[in-house]
């Protein structure tokens, strides 16, 4: 009895310690946030930094309210967000499909190997001008930018994961007389879900790069356009507002991918 009580007490203390630690972590996270924005505001007000270049949180906030009220921010955000999400999904999907094709045909994968290396090494944003000419200066070419930037690396990473699946799982299926597509569906693909999810996480970031660069080049709408426009008219409050909005929504996308991860990988 005594023993049980003391175990319970120890457990309680342990939980208390955990919550205590968590509170401190949250506290310091808040401190960093607060100090950063407060410091920024003060430094700008006192002219320690050039307010023309670095603006100030209060100015960014005022602009944010104004642009919410006249609805232009929502329009720009809507464009960029849909381009990014589409580019992201397209890039990951195409990459995974390509990886599946390479897994299906070892011969093809041997043939294509050097081309994949070249395509991967090449900076994809350099393809921007060609895409824009080919697909027209529209949303399509920006989505293509968002997709193309992640497709090759997805292919390579996912294909490598496909190849590294323990062959004994395949052996189990083959003893049941499974076909190659059954092996893919039952073993290869589910075994690689963790890898596919982690490429999704990388691709969130990459797609934003692709889309923003695409908008730099061509668009008359979107957050990327806001940055380039702000830069041209030397309105850095606009640039910073755009940056902060991008940071927030990229984080949200990342969180959604993590949510998907928890849903998809039940057994872990």
């Amino acid at each position: 009895m005594n023993n049980k009580q003391s175990t319970e007490l120890l457990h309680k203390n342990y939980i208390k310690k955990l919550t205590y630690e968590k509170r401190w972590v949250r506290f310091y996270q808040f401190v960093i946030f607060f100090v950063f924005f407060l410091g920024w505001e003060i430094a700008s007000k006192k002219q320690w930094i050039d307010p023309l270049i670095f603006s100030a949180p209060s100015k960014v906030w005022n602009l944010f309210i104004r642009k919410i009220q006249d609805g232009t921010l929502m329009v720009d955000l809507g464009y960029t967000l849909s381009e990014t999400v589409l580019g992201f999904i397209l890039g990951t999907l195409l990459g995974t499909i390509l990886a599946a094709i390479l897994w299906w045909s070892p011969f093809l994968s041997k043939v294509l190997d050097p081309y994949l290396v070249i395509l991967n090494a090449m900076p994809k944003v350099a393809l921007g001008p060609i895409l824009i000419v080919a697909l027209g200066p529209s949303m399509t070419s920006i989505i293509a930018m968002g997709a193309i930037i992640s497709v090759i690396i997805t292919t390579i990473v996912v294909y490598t994961a496909f190849k590294e699946v323990d062959p004994n799982y395949i052996k189990v299926l083959q003893t049941f007389g499974a076909t190659r597509s059954q092996c893919f569906k039952e073993a290869i693909l589910p075994a690689c879900f963790p890898t596919i999810i982690s490429t999704l996480k990388v691709n969130v970031g990459l797609s934003w790069v692709g889309v923003i660069v695409g908008e730099f080049l061509v668009s008359s709408k979107g957050l990327g356009y806001m940055i380039i426009y702000g830069f041209q008219v030397f309105n850095f409050t606009l640039v910073l507002l755009s940056l902060l909005v991008i940071a927030i929504f990229a984080t949200i996308m990342y969180q959604l991918v993590e949510l998907l991860e928890r849903k998809l990988i039940k057994s872990n």
Binding site: V172, L173, T175, G177, S267
Partner: protein, 254 residues
């Protein structure tokens, strides 16, 4: 007529720098309901031979007949158990044991009932919705046995299925597997490097020598031992005699 017949099996693995003969001139016959062991040092091609019998790949030379049919046509008659359980970690126990039926495209309720009854027989009722990693090693290997038996194979291949388990679990599983196979009248081939296990479980033992894999000698397990469960057989005086005999042969191989 023999149940399984191997005639002059040769197998060679090719790499860029070498050609390794894994198996050389293997001929043997297995009667229906027999329990056979392949015993030998590592690198004697036991697992290769098992894979060939299972029809996973073709031997370089030779023929295998299962009930007078080539094995490629009779894949469904063969069940294969590996060294580790290789349960699919993302599938529940239920999904794992029904995997074979799913691959066959034959998931009728009678077969499913059979699967559940096997699971119950193995003492695993109530674990259907759990994931493999929630189970212990011995339990997982039992699930793997159920998965193999669900498709009602006529020939069962056991590729060192107990080698990754602790000793106590191994002894228990040996008894369970032996009893289960006997009651279903299944023919089985066990690959092992454990002399004791081979004697305790089988009716006949083929001793392999390595590089290239060849049948060195075959032993018949005496009737008294065959009638006992593996655990009891280990305590029989004849067990020790046969153990010594095989041990000496193994020594002479080196």
């Amino acid at each position: 007529m023999s149940f399984l017949k191997l005639e002059h099996i040769h197998h060679t693995y090719f790499t860029k720098t070498s050609a390794t003969t894994a198996l050389s001139d293997i001929s043997l016959e297995v009667k229906e309901g027999e329990f056979i062991s392949f015993l030998g040092p590592s690198g004697c091609g036991k697992t290769t031979l098992l894979s060939i019998i299972a029809g996973l790949f073709q031997p370089t030379e030779g023929t295998i007949l299962l009930e007078n049919q080539s094995v490629n046509k009779s894949k469904k008659k063969i069940g294969y158990m590996l060294q580790q359980d290789y349960l699919f970690p993302w599938k529940t126990i239920e999904e794992n044991i029904l995997l074979g039926l799913k691959i066959f495209g034959n998931e009728d309720s009678a077969k499913k009932e059979y699967a559940y009854s096997l699971l119950e027989e193995m003492g695993l009722k109530g674990y259907e919705k759990q994931y493999p990693k929630q189970l212990s090693g011995g339990m997982r290997q039992r699930v793997a046995l159920v998965r193999t038996l669900v498709t009602e194979p006529k020939l069962l291949m056991l590729d060192e299925p107990f080698s990754a388990l602790d000793y106590q679990t191994k002894l228990r599983l040996e008894d369970l597997v032996s009893e289960t196979l006997k009651s279903f009248g299944k023919t089985a081939i066990l690959v092992t490097h454990d002399i004791g296990e081979a004697i305790a479980m089988s009716d006949r033992i083929y001793l392999f020598s390595a590089r290239p894999g060849q049948i060195h000698k075959s032993f018949k397990v005496p009737k008294e031992l065959r009638e006992l469960s593996p655990f009891q057989a280990r305590n029989h005086e004849n067990y020790t005699h046969l153990f010594q005999e095989i041990w000496k042969e193994l020594e002479s191989l080196e």
